[in-house]
């Protein structure tokens, strides 16, 4: 459980429709990251979006630090540019898997949902490894008909990060 993300779902039919829409959002989002199209990653967020990846121990203790912490789409864009063009790291490929989507709230323009995620990583000279197992807490708003993230909290269980987390979740 993450503060502000308690369960107060709309009626069942509406929930099913929203869940499908959110699942489509996740599929597109993961496709963008898995293809390495980082320049398109910021497009999934609103201008004032908050994006944070943090360990469960921080989330549980109410500690604000982020392994990655952005409070604007511009910061997300800067990270995307740096990862694509300036950062030094070994080549790798990623696969994101998102499941167990639960619609938590749908009030006015804001839809809140949680989902589980797995991030698998493959380096050029090793087997595929489980890089991170975690949960998204998402706040969506609808802009020009499509969902955008106003907040994405990525809370991971994987206590010990395997060296580093280069590409986003």
């Amino acid at each position: 459980m993450y503060p502000g993300y308690d369960m107060a779902p709309p009626d069942a039919r509406n929930t099913r429709e929203l869940r499908l829409e959110i699942e489509e959002f996740h599929t597109a989002y993961c496709w963008t990251l898995d293809c390495g199209e980082l320049e398109h990653w910021p497009e999934y967020f609103t201008d004032d979006a908050v994006y944070r990846i943090t360990a469960r121990e921080n989330a549980d203790a109410g500690l604000p630090v982020g392994l990655v912490y952005a409070d604007s789409k511009a910061m997300i864009r800067d990270r995307a540019f740096a990862l694509k063009h300036t950062q030094m790291y070994a080549p790798r490929t990623l696969q994101h898997f998102v499941t167990n989507v639960r619609v938590l709230q749908a009030k006015g323009d804001t839809i809140k949902a949680q989902s589980n995620y797995l991030l698998l990583q493959t380096l050029v000279d090793g087997p595929t490894t489980l890089q991170q197992s975690g949960r998204y807490y998402d706040s969506f708003v609808r802009l020009e008909g499509s969902l955008k993230l106003k907040e994405r909290q990525c809370i991971y269980d994987t206590v010990l990060i395997a060296n580093d987390l280069v590409l986003p979740v």
């Binding site: 121990e57 921080n58 982020g66 864009r77 800067d78 740096a82 300036t86 090793g126 990060i161 987390l165």
Partner: protein, 431 residues
């Protein structure tokens, strides 16, 4: 361990990883301008390090007092690879003891941190107070009529937890297995104490959170990395492009008299463009077209009375103190065999920070940590070094920048602090 999975060949398959005590560890010709690969790969050398360095006469970082502010607060920690518990007693004093039940050896404390009145080993419920003294042994006198129980001469006070020597300095807690060592101020030395006090003296810390990662490299490589200003101006595009640390600007590599600690210091140039312009031809990581869409990230709030905007301190043998503009933190190095270390990061600000300052520190935190723009590049580079030294047929590295000089330097194109550290290290290990 992930390092087993992410590189070809499990550690232990190469000749350089199997060196034992029968080897005559002879430093290569050329003195300190070369570092033999076996300091990073030999299990025998690693054992000697644990014994003589981490379990020897050194002050090891174990906690920040801000993590255990109240009586009964505790935290799991490590001295070298050895698990310990740091606890604050009812009387306010801080105690460090091995996380090993005096009875059968169980690692009894399983929570990262918490608050308690006593520690109870889950196996046979032996209980200990917050100072590590044995308090209770169930059925100590056996069962009436059946016998059993401890021998008559069993004394609780002789069966407490193994207690370590503890000291604190400006809210930072250090521990040692050694009883015979100098006070912490003297241990750090005046050169190091100065910048340590800039971060800690008279300031109440506010913990912002934790990162933990395994870095598949020898623990000394992390010290070397921060005693190596040369890499900072070449590897890290963020430092170079945004003028956080530019060769030719005001920088310093400050070592203590023994060469074991260090402060990598730099002052952000007044005119970044001009400073970068002078040296950018040498720096492949420089990107003319890299402009930040959100400039708040790298703003520098001048909050310290110090000529330096950045000080990265390596405090022998297991502590890094990070002051990179306004992002502050410590890194606790836990050696994990010759080929691996665990890094425990605690990020903090100050109790006097307002909400905007906290946010500023959080934004700037993107520079550091296992996903930080500087942090991840260091972790990648250190991993590459470990793979190189483990798997190659050649057997030594070169540290010739700056010639034979040891310790402090003003130039960043110098490896004197790495040589200084190894001069000390060789003495300690008898190499």
């Amino acid at each position: 361990m992930f390092s087993v999975n992410t590189v070809i060949h499990q550690p232990g398959h190469f000749a350089k990883e199997q060196l034992d005590d029968s080897v005559d560890y002879k430093w290569p010709e050329g003195g300190l301008q070369n570092i033999p690969d076996w300091v990073y790969t030999s299990p025998a050398i690693y054992q000697r390090e644990i014994e003589r360095i981490f379990h020897g006469p050194t002050w090891n970082f174990v906690a920040l007092e801000a993590e255990i502010p109240n009586p009964g607060d505790f935290k799991r920690s490590f001295v070298g690879p050895t698990p310990v518990v740091v606890a604050r007693d009812i009387d306010g004093s801080v105690h460090v003891f091995e996380n090993r039940c005096a009875h059968r050896g169980a690692e009894f404390c399983r929570s990262q941190r918490g608050n308690t009145k006593e520690f109870v080993c889950p196996y046979h419920q032996w209980s200990y107070d917050l100072k590590g003294n044995l308090q209770g042994v169930p059925f100590k006198r056996g069962i009436k009529g059946e016998g059993g129980g401890m021998p008559k001469d069993f004394r609780n006070e002789e069966h407490g937890l193994l207690k370590l020597n503890v000291t604190t300095l400006h809210g930072v807690v250090f521990a040692s297995f050694s009883r015979e060592l100098e006070p912490i101020e003297e241990y750090l030395g005046p050169e190091i104490l100065k910048d340590f006090e800039v971060v800690f003296k008279g300031r109440k810390l506010k913990i912002l959170g934790y990162y933990r990662n395994e870095l598949p490299g020898n623990w000394k490589l992390y010290h070397e990395n921060l005693k190596d200003p040369y890499h900072a101006t070449l590897l890290h595009s963020f430092l170079v492009t945004f003028g956080l640390m530019v060769a030719g600007s005001k920088n310093g590599m400050i070592a203590d008299a023994k060469g074991r600690h260090g402060t990598l210091a730099s002052a952000k140039p007044e005119n970044v463009a001009e400073a970068v312009d002078k040296v950018k031809g040498e720096m492949r990581a420089y990107r003319e077209d890299f402009k930040l869409a959100d400039g708040r990230f790298l703003q520098y709030v001048r909050e310290f009375d110090s000529p330096w905007s950045v000080t990265m301190q390596t405090i022998w043998p297991n502590l890094i103190v990070q002051r990179e503009l306004n992002t502050l933190g410590i890194r606790h190095i836990v050696p994990n065999g010759p080929h691996s270390m665990i890094m425990l990061w605690t990020m903090f600000g100050y109790e006097t920070d307002d909400e905007e300052m906290v946010r500023h520190r959080l934004r700037q935190g993107n520079l550091m940590g296992p996903a930080g723009f500087l942090g991840l590049e260091d972790n990648e580079a250190i991993k590459f070094v470990q793979e190189g030294v483990r798997r190659s047929s050649s057997d030594k590295g070169v540290v010739k920048l700056g010639g034979d000089k040891l310790g402090s330097t003003n130039s960043v194109i110098d490896e004197a602090a790495i040589r200084g550290m190894y001069a000390y290290y060789r003495q300690e290990l008898g190499l």
